[in-house]
Amino acid sequence: MKKILLVDDDASIRRVLSHLLQANGYSVVTAATREDAVAILKAQQGFSLFILDFWVGDDTGLEVMADLQQVHPAVPVLFLSGGNEEVALETSTALAEMRGASEFLYKPVQAAYFLDVVKRYV
């Protein structure tokens, strides 16, 4: 079973996306913070995909991505964001792509489309 790490500080998003992914045959590990994500990576191996919120507490997903890629540089990263009042989605998308993110999806994302994109990388 392919294993996905999902990092999002919103508990409802973690619950909904985990349920959706698990119902479609994926194993999902979730983290609410950058620190949790790093701790999980130290304890567990074998991730096929990282799904990151662009805003994780006081951190940006870019920082989380850098942490994760230090350990697993080849694992694709898929970003999700609903935006932020101060930073346009256009800017966060470009920054993520410059760092090598595989995809940038926008909340609320349609379930079927989200799963299609996940399948592309896992």
């Binding site: 989605l89 998308t93 926008y106 994302v109 349609q110």
Partner: protein, 141 residues
């Protein structure tokens, strides 16, 4: 003004000039920078319903100027509008064939091509510095 401030201002001016020159190469008065950003946003929307509200959020500009820009693009024939079947208050904006053609002449392609002419290591360094400027702005201010 210190020597360092003077050099920083000159650098900032060149960054601004790089972008302004790219837009100046296009037919004046036809498509504004905000309208270009909206066309790019619609192209980005993928499976998401591309409403005026979503576009506004994507480009980071309030609703009124975005709606005016969309109306102008509709007059250019670059976008079409239809009512959202799931939410009658929302209008969905779509690219027309003219819009897709127009995007082939997007001014930022000029800058992208100039970046492509940089030596690979210079390009990587430029990207690194640019990200630092933006991420610094996001996390510090």
């Amino acid at each position: 003004m210190s020597e360092s401030d003077r050099i920083n201002l000159a650098t900032a001016l060149l960054i601004e000039r790089l972008v302004r020159d790219a837009y100046a190469d296009r037919a004046p008065g036809s498509v504004t920078p905000l309208q270009w950003a909206i066309l790019r946003a619609i192209l980005r929307a993928k499976a998401d319903p591309c409403t005026q509200g979503w576009i506004s959020r994507f480009v980071g500009v309030t609703a009124a100027p975005v709606n005016r820009a969309i109306k102008a693009l509709e007059r250019h024939g670059a976008v079409s509008l239809r009512r959202d079947e799931n939410d009658g208050r929302q209008m969905i904006v779509e690219l027309t064939p003219t819009g897709y053609e127009l995007l082939k002449r997007d001014p930022i392609l000029v800058i992208s091509r100039r970046l492509d002419r940089l030596e690979p290591d210079k390009r990587v360094e430029f990207r690194r510095v640019l990200q630092q400027l933006f991420v610094g702005g996001i996390t510090i201010e």
